[in-house]
């Protein structure tokens, strides 16, 4: 019998226009926790979907216990004892916990009807085994993210999975919840499961994994024992170059205070957020996912109105009822989710760029399309997109280029303050550097820049001021960033 429970060789997966995986290898030992790391867009998620049979690779082979297998449907992979816990939960929000655990492999009575009582009881036992006392009859949508994750793990064990894949399970968890998850994961390993653990966080990897595989730009970089690599080495494997290169941070004299928040609060999302921003300053807002960073900025923009608090620009209190008011005042927002919030994917780039500023091209109520296209062309050239024409559809561009189109879109208004929500999420390294460059030049031109980011290196590399949020409140503000370390920030973000 082979040493490896699962091996993938030379996997290539092509989506229209993109190679999502390019000749990738992977091997999983029996009873190990194997970390899979790589930047966003490195192909990790696609890779999992290949293992679980959601995608079929164009090339490559999958071996299970040394036997070659082909997964035609997700069901095939399930039958081979492979289970995955996806990053964006694949739960049924309106159904009960029990049902979420057993969907697709319900327990039946002898009359072939669903044995609810038995299922509830078994679900309870399963959850108990994982050290959780969630009521199996409660509705999934009413649970916290951490609880939902436990349910998903319970679902995986309920199928007698021998290989469990966890896609960024710790992203939305508090420190205590993370510890709980580590404990469960190790317990599963000790019970004989093999686990692929995908994470952005180095501490996850050092804490529980024994080996690590790195992907970069859809390619396989290598596999190492966790102790064979230093942190820096690992980063350079993931990023492909030394980090210092890509942050073009200039030391600027900060100007006057241009923007101030006072006591901004919204029930259930954030409370008492106050900070100020100067011309030429880059302020990074960081914290865990779910700490309320994006919500604060959406509050500033009037997308989801805050309950209390005030926003000042140039010393004047603003009345922001909708995004338009914020934009007119001079605040621009780059949303986090390019495809859902930033761009109309079915539209040409030109129309996308000018959507927020149509009045600039309107004369006698009619839009001057020629002027509109010309302006779009200039803006798109300025941000160096790889597009060929303003008629190219937004969906035809890669993540990084889409991000640049949004930059062009926001830059078309007259702004004083720019808010960027996770500007480099899912963007390749080259485009990342360009986005940082754009950010620096904005600051140099005297804009105030607020950057929301979860990526420590970029926070440390770009910011003048670092604001850390935790559970909807400002946890700490570092005004002088020269000596701040990653550990200090993490502590502020997660302290129990």
């Amino acid at each position: 019998m082979s040493d490896y429970i699962l091996e993938l060789k030379g996997i290539t997966k092509i989506f229209p226009g993109v190679k999502a995986l390019d000749n990738v290898h992977f091997s999983l030992k029996r009873g190990e926790i194997h970390a899979l790391m790589g930047e966003n867009g490195a192909g990790k998620s696609t890779f999992i979907k290949v293992i679980t049979g959601v995608h079929r690779p164009e090339e490559g082979e999958i071996y299970l216990n040394g036997q070659k297998v082909v997964f035609k449907t997700p069901k095939d992979a399930q039958n081979m004892s492979i289970a995955a816990i996806y990053q964006h939960g694949t739960t049924y929000q309106h159904l009960s916990v029990t049902e979420n655990i057993y969907m697709g492999h319900e327990k039946l009575t002898k009359f072939k009807t669903i044995a609810w009582n038995k299922m509830h009881k078994d679900a309870k036992a399963l959850l108990k085994r994982l050290g959780s006392d969630i009521d199996p009859r409660s509705i999934m949508g009413n649970l916290t993210v951490a609880e939902q994750q436990v349910v998903e793990i319970a679902k995986a064990i309920s199928t007698d999975a021998k290989i469990i894949i966890m896609d960024e399970p710790t992203a939305a968890l508090s420190k205590r919840e993370c510890e709980e998850l580590y404990r469960i994961t190790e317990q599963l390993r000790d019970e004989g499961c093999s686990i692929i653990f995908i994470s952005h966080r180095f501490e996850d990897m050092y804490r529980i994994a024994s080996r690590v595989t790195v992907f970069r730009d859809s390619q396989y970089i290598g596999t190492w024992g966790v102790n064979e690599l230093t942190n820096d080495e690992l980063i350079s494997k993931m990023v492909g170059r030394k980090i210092a290169d890509i942050y073009p941070k200039q030391q600027l004299e900060m100007g006057d205070e241009i923007f101030k928040l006072e006591g901004l609060s919204k029930l259930g999302y954030y409370k008492d957020i106050s900070f100020s921003l100067h011309a030429g300053e880059i302020l990074a807002m960081t914290g865990l996912v779910g700490a309320g960073r994006s919500e604060v900025c959406q509050g500033i923009m009037g997308i989801e109105k805050p309950d209390k608090g005030s926003v000042y620009l140039d010393g004047k209190k603003l009345k922001i009822k909708c995004v338009k008011d914020a934009m007119d005042a001079g605040i621009g927002y780059f949303p986090e989710d390019r495809q859902k919030q930033g761009l109309i994917l079915d539209w040409g780039l030109g129309d996308n760029v000018t959507l927020a500023t149509l009045e600039k091209f309107t004369k006698h109520t009619i839009i001057n399309r020629k002027a509109e296209r010309q302006k779009a062309k200039e803006l798109l050239e300025e941000v160096k997109t790889k597009a060929l024409s303003v008629f190219d559809k937004a969906s035809s561009l890669s993540g990084g280029n889409q991000q640049k189109v949004i930059v062009a879109k926001v830059l078309n208004s007259d702004l004083k303050v720019v808010i960027l929500d996770e500007p480099t999420k899912g963007v390749d390294v080259g485009a990342k550097a360009q986005i940082y460059e754009i950010m620096s030049s904005l600051a140099a031109k005297g804009y105030g820049v607020i950057m929301i980011s979860s990526e420590m290196p970029e926070v440390l590399g770009m910011a003048d001021t670092i604001l850390v949020m935790k559970e909807g409140r400002v946890s700490k503000i570092f005004n002088d960033c020269s000596n701040v370390t990653q550990e200090q920030i993490l502590e502020a973000a997660m302290n129990v």
Partner: protein
């Protein structure tokens, strides 16, 4: 104690519907001077409601998948008309077909209609509202074609067939018995079979369902086919009860059925809905129809009142939902 609490909290919708029904019943009983809650009137009311209630079960399945079926009024008419035509010719030849066969024919026609709807929605990815709107035209047109301009009148159906609706079995009206049977089957299908739960899964999240290996297309086709079959049954019962089949039978009936579902707590965005809730929704609508004439509400007012109640209940439901969310946010203590 805990069990009782859980029962209440998870069936809050059904319980509040029962309360509403009871309150309205009491009110009408008092206003009508005791003519409402007589056994005869209740029997009448349940008979009137049974076809609507049967149809609502099928519609529930479709709405749970996140779809809608506007073609059921036409499907009812078409299947009743085809069944009725067979019946008419057999009655004329003096050798009437057995009732069961007529019902089976109607259901078969309904199944074909449902299959077509399901295929359009799942395979050709046409929005359910448009697909069933188009098919509604087609089925309705086909009904006229089959009818060929003539009505099938009571006399042509033969006395044997009519007993299907008027007859009694152990002192209970046949229609009522059929409705109860349909509900028992539906209750077990929706709650206790794998296939039934798959319908909920697809409605909750088609993506999740696909990832967990459910063949979502098949589930969609199944839901529309069940709807079709039930429409076939409902159509023939409707015709049997009113003793006439014609081209315009059941025009606009789909709106009543959808209203019953919405009142019964089936969310139009899919994923939620319970069989008991739908039953109560249908009973509430049926009761309103029956009660309004009794308390001298002019027949001209009835439409507007019915519409008002539906709109009110949707908006009230949305407000309750918002309240629940605010409460959840408070609990987060931020």
């Amino acid at each position: 104690m805990d069990k009782v609490k859980r029962f209440f909290s998870s069936n809050i919708r059904e319980i509040s519907l029962i309360i509403v029904i009871v309150v309205i019943a009491m009110f009408v009983e008092l206003r009508s001077g005791g003519r409402f809650l007589t056994s005869m009137n209740i029997n009448d009311m349940l008979m009137e409601t049974s076809v609507l209630a049967i149809m609502a079960v099928g519609m529930m399945m479709v709405i749970i998948t996140g779809g809608i079926d506007l073609s059921i009024g036409a499907t009812m008419a078409l299947s009743a008309m085809v069944g009725g035509t067979f019946l008419k010719s057999s009655v004329l030849s003096g050798n009437p077909l057995p009732n069961l066969l007529i019902v089976v024919i109607a259901i078969a026609v309904g199944i074909v209609c449902g299959l077509i709807n399901g295929a359009l929605v799942s395979k050709l990815k046409i929005l359910p509202i448009i697909a069933t709107l188009g098919m509604m035209n087609i089925y309705r047109g086909a009904t006229y074609l089959v009818a060929n301009g003539s009505w099938i009148k009571q006399a042509e159906m033969g006395p044997g067939f009519l007993t299907l609706a008027t007859g009694k079995f152990m002192g209970i009206n046949n229609l009522l018995i059929i409705a109860v049977v349909v509900y028992i089957i539906a209750y077990f299908f929706a709650g206790y079979t794998k296939t039934g739960r798959k319908i909920y899964a697809v409605g909750n999240s088609e993506e999740s369902a696909r990832v967990s290996g459910i063949k979502t297309d098949r589930v969609l086709v199944l839901a529309y086919t069940i709807m079709g079959a039930i429409a076939g049954l409902g159509g023939i019962l409707y015709v049997c009860k009113y003793g006439v089949a014609q081209g315009e039978t059941c025009t606009g009936y789909e709106m009543n059925v959808i209203a019953a579902c919405v009142l019964g707590g089936v969310s139009i965005t899919g994923g939620t809905g319970k069989v008991p809730g739908v039953l109560l929704g249908a009973i509430l609508l049926g009761m309103l129809n029956n009660a309004m004439p009794l308390i001298q509400v002019s027949s001209f007012w009835q439409e507007a009142i019915r519409g008002g109640i539906i709109l009110f209940s949707i908006i009230a439901n949305a407000l309750i939902q918002r309240n629940v969310e605010i409460k959840a946010l408070r609990r987060r203590n931020i």
